[in-house]
């Protein structure tokens, strides 16, 4: 596989085949944990790590897994890496671990991870899979960061814990509530559609 091809595998996850905005996968953690920027970053990186490593392993063993136990095997591999991430956070960043709560283990069923295994890694070579996973993971991460920034800024008036908004600003509490997350993501999707429409017109 040429460098060019690896690059396209990487790039596509950032916009064209964006896992969240295009494929509507991995919604749950996106909505749940983006109350602050730092959560978004940590979750994004955690997911990226899991996608990359599972893509790697799934791609290695792709030829020997019989279809009857395919999902079980993938799930086991994913669960292993997720547990590692979980343990890592618990040991080194206990605060974040607490904030992310049960959503770290839920990376296991984050549809993106399994989705990439099923859709890509089990059909492609190791490096392509790794780059694909990386692209998907980083694509996911940037949206989490955007969501986290907007929600933290509007909902608490801070970014990364620092107060940004002037003191007369009355925080829109709804932004850090579930409802705010859904609404914001809805609007973001619409914005994305709009950009795409513009692109098609021109």
């Amino acid at each position: 596989m040429g460098r060019q091809n690896l690059m396209t595998e990487f790039i596509k996850g950032l916009w064209k085949d964006h896992p969240l905005m295009r494929q509507l996968l991995g919604m749950c953690s996106t909505l749940a944990i983006t109350t602050t920027v730092i959560n978004g970053i940590s979750m994004g990186l955690g997911v990226t790590f899991v996608i990359v490593s599972t893509s790697f392993f799934v791609s290695i063993i792709r030829k020997i897994v019989p279809p009857q136990v395919r999902i079980a095997v993938y799930a086991a591999i994913i669960a292993t890496f997720v547990t590692i991430v979980d343990i890592f956070f618990k040991a080194n960043f206990p605060k974040i671990s607490e904030a992310l709560g049960p959503y770290v283990p839920l990376i296991i069923v984050n549809c993106i991870v399994l989705g990439r295994c099923e859709a890509f890694a089990c059909k492609n070579g190791i490096w392509a899979s790794v780059w694909d996973g990386l692209g998907m993971g980083l694509g996911y991460t940037w949206v989490l960061i955007v969501l986290g920034t907007i929600r933290e800024l509007l909902g608490s008036g801070t970014i990364l814990g620092k107060t940004i908004m002037p003191s007369v600003y009355n925080p829109l509490v709804v932004m850090v509530l579930p409802a705010g997350a859904f609404l914001l993501l809805g609007f973001l999707l619409a914005l994305m559609n709009r950009l795409e429409q513009k692109k098609q017109v021109s």
Binding site: I61, I64, V65, P66, Q68, V69, A72, V73, A76, I77, A79, T80, T83, I84, I87, F88, K90, A91, N92, P94, G155, S156, P171, V173, V176, L177
Partner: protein
């Protein structure tokens, strides 16, 4: 038959490998995680009783209570965890009480899921500071208007439920504690 063997062996081997990997990582990180947990509690206690140097864990009726000592080895008081239902979910609070068990040294909210801007304000200083040196020889009361007695705190307006819940949680635990420590 060959396929069956393949199915069985692949899944089994993957499971074994995964478990092995996990056990290994877990083993490496376990110490750190455990110390994180104690550190978190000690940090919280440290905020409420800055003088403490040493804790002694008392295990009474399955619940953990920390006896606090200062640098000279004198008893500073007790720290305990209490939890119960708030407005939306569980509130978990750490409180430090004086050795005579009649006055609170302060409280620290460990965990809560109250509404930001309303119930979540129980975490804010203006509210928590009311518990500093609060008389607890009689049950704490939560009032909506001005405080008239030294066992009262003022509820957060528009979050009466959260405030009351917190007071109830504390009252319940303190009365248990009194009994338990008396038994000791």
């Amino acid at each position: 038959m060959k396929e069956t063997i393949k199915i069985v062996s692949v899944l089994t081997i993957v499971c074994i490998l995964c478990a092995f990997l996990l056990a290994f990582v877990n083993n490496a990180a376990r110490g750190q995680i455990a110390s994180n947990d104690t550190k978190k509690i000690e940090d919280a206690i440290g905020k409420l009783a800055p003088l403490f140097k040493k804790t002694e864990k008392l295990n009474i009726a399955g619940e953990e209570i920390y006896k606090l000592f200062d640098a000279k080895g004198e008893v500073l008081g007790y720290a305990f965890l209490a939890k119960g239902d708030g407005y939306q979910g569980v509130i978990k609070v750490l409180a430090v009480i004086n050795p005579q068990i009649d006055k609170l040294e302060g409280i620290e909210i460990i965990e809560s899921v109250e509404t930001p801007g309303l119930g979540a304000r129980i975490k804010e200083d203006f509210f928590r500071n009311q518990f500093k040196n609060l008389k607890v020889s009689v049950p704490i009361e939560c009032v909506k208007e001005n405080i008239t007695q030294d066992n009262q705190i003022k509820a957060i307006s528009s979050a009466t439920i959260s405030s009351k819940s917190l007071v109830n949680i504390l009252n319940k635990k303190i009365s248990e504690l009194k009994k338990q420590l008396a038994n000791q």
